[in-house]
């Protein structure tokens, strides 16, 4: 018994590991909260695109010598609002447009990164797969602040966000600012993606947005329950993944996402598949 507790406490003796654990759990929880809407509204592709754009923002910020949060946030918010604008105004299938533009932007980031490595010998590659151990104290503050903003907004505007995303046509007719609320969600998604990139990396942010929320959707009947469960699943995956990463010496992002995936499979098996795959696939509409 004491041995098990010792195993759990041991890594936390180091400040940077404790910081990493807190960051991972926070990121898991925030992603899951926003992820509930991502799953329900099929925004997974957009979330993925935002993460890739944020990466390029990070690289540009690094090369230009300003804070990576500013670069990533500016890029992701511009992309988020851009997608919102295109979806509302143009009204055509936006998947192809998003695919072309954002893989292009990501490619630019990769090329710039290669130049950056040649010049500066810095490892921007950690942002692709995430390095939770690189989280500094001020990163933790940024994550906590983003979490407060995201969770606070989703709770405070619960009824508006619900109506606007459940039945936009009627909500708009009744006088709700549906366009603004949809943009707000993309904005929250952008902020979430940016603070998560460092912890789980560009490639795996998507999994943290989708998997815990999809797991929650398997068992929750109503949206508040789904959000609470998603946050618990996300935090649990981060916690378990963190220890897995520490003791098995594997990358944190991969370990966390792997645990989240195992959780999904376990829950799906428990509820006998009740639309499990339909739920998960719906996130990618």
């Amino acid at each position: 018994m004491n041995g098990a507790v010792e195993l759990l406490i041991e890594p936390l003796r180091y400040g940077f590991l404790l910081r990493a654990l807190v960051a991972a759990v926070l990121v898991g929880a925030i992603c899951a909260m926003v992820g509930s809407y991502v799953v329900l509204k099929g925004l997974a592709f957009i979330g993925d695109a935002l993460a890739h754009v944020a990466f390029t923002g990070i690289v540009v910020a690094f090369l230009a010598g300003f804070s990576f949060y500013i670069g990533a946030l500016a890029a992701a918010i511009a992309a988020g609002l851009g997608i919102g604008w295109v979806t509302r105004r143009v009204g055509l299938s936006t998947d192809t447009a998003i695919g072309i533009v954002f893989s292009g932007v990501f490619a630019l980031g990769v090329v710039l990164m290669a130049i950056g490595i040649r010049t500066y010998t810095v490892d921007l590659f950690s942002y692709v797969f995430g390095d939770i151990l690189a989280v500094r104290a001020r990163d933790l503050w940024a994550i906590a602040l983003a979490g407060l903003l995201v969770v606070g907004t989703i709770v405070a505007l619960y009824k508006e966000l619900l109506f606007a995303h459940f039945d936009p046509v009627v909500a708009e007719a009744a006088g709700l600012p549906v366009g603004a609320l949809q943009l707000l969600l993309l904005l929250l998604l952008s902020v979430t993606v940016v603070v998560s990139v460092q912890a789980v990396g560009v490639v795996l942010v998507l999994a943290m947005l989708v998997t815990p929320a999809a797991t929650a959707a398997l068992v929750a009947r109503r949206l508040p329950a789904m959000m609470i469960l998603a946050v618990l699943f996300g935090a649990l995956a981060a916690l378990v993944g963190f220890y897995l990463s520490y003791y098995a010496s594997v990358p944190s992002g991969g370990a966390i996402v792997l645990v989240a995936t195992v959780l999904f499979v376990l829950v799906a098996a428990l509820v006998r598949g009740r639309g499990a795959w339909r739920r998960l696939m719906a996130a990618y509409r």
Binding site: F166, P168, V170, E172, A174, G175
Partner: protein
């Protein structure tokens, strides 16, 4: 004294002023031919109005204009004397519910949404709002289904949930786009009983439908629409073969006995009667 006079004048205007005044409305979607051309009609308070026309005749477009979601290219649309704009006094039940039926909301949740536009930003629904939502569910006979997910409802029940939400909103004007298409006969009957009761209480309702045979008798006024107003008036005046032919562009036979009308579609011989 001055404000008293204003209040009296306002009350007098409220009883005499048409709820809806559409004057020379031409509108459509961007960069296209107008969908509606020079539409003109007025609706009195307490009227149950049928908007009849074939698919693509502009019924939904007219509703969007009445909701202020589609600005007029020409003419004006006045609701309660004011230019149309989205507001909680109009309850709208769209035709094809574009909503996702897998959304994790219960019957009660949907009914309660009717209260959301009445509450301010950030404000939570209170006890009175929950009671109104329950009252609305009672009106549509779904109160014992309130904890079921909307995914678990039948087609008729789904239509009733949206009626309940509209009722909970406590609007003055109901806009229902094809509320009886694709639902069973008891629900059709139920919807009209409810609408008739609401209109007797001074509410106003516009019901768009392309199915004229079953519901046509129940309207106070009928607007025959096909990109423009073909006719507007009491059902017994506008239901003539000539006008219906102009509206639906197909050969319709009218058989009358008493105050009943049976519509027979000439081309496929499909007879529909009530």
């Amino acid at each position: 004294m001055g404000s008293g006079v204003v209040a009296v004048e306002r009350a007098a205007r409220a009883t005499t002023m048409p709820v809806i005044q559409v004057e020379g409305l031409t509108t459509g979607y961007r960069r296209g031919e107008p969908v509606l051309r020079n539409v003109r009609f007025a609706v009195e308070r307490g009227a149950l109005v049928g908007v009849l026309g074939p698919n693509g005749s502009g019924k939904s477009t007219l509703f969007r204009a009445l909701l202020g979601l589609l600005p007029p290219w020409e003419g004006r649309v006045l609701v309660e004397g004011q230019p149309a704009r989205p507001n909680p006094d109009i309850a709208y039940i769209p035709q094809r519910e574009t909503i996702d039926w897998d959304f994790p909301v219960t019957v009660f949740d949907v009914a309660l949404m009717g209260r959301y536009p009445r509450l301010g930003l950030f404000r939570r629904p209170g006890k009175a709002d929950r009671e109104l939502a329950l009252w609305a569910l009672e009106q549509v006979g779904l109160v014992d289904q309130r904890d079921r997910l909307i995914a678990e409802l039948s087609g008729g029940q789904r239509q009733r949930v949206f009626l309940a939400r509209a009722l909970a909103q406590e609007p003055e004007l109901f806009l229902l786009d094809e509320p009886v298409s694709g639902v069973d006969a008891p629900t059709q009957h139920f919807v009209f009983e409810l609408l008739e009761r609401l209109c007797r209480q001074g509410k106003t309702a516009l019901v768009a439908t392309h199915d004229l045979s079953c519901v046509a008798q129940r309207f106070d006024r009928v607007l025959l629409l096909n990109r423009e107003v073909i006719a507007y008036g009491p059902p017994q005046e506008v239901f003539t073969e000539a006008l219906l032919h102009r509206t639906f562009q197909s050969h319709l036979l009218l058989l009358r006995y008493g105050d009943r009308v049976i519509v027979v579609e000439g081309e496929d011989g499909d007879e529909r009667s009530c």
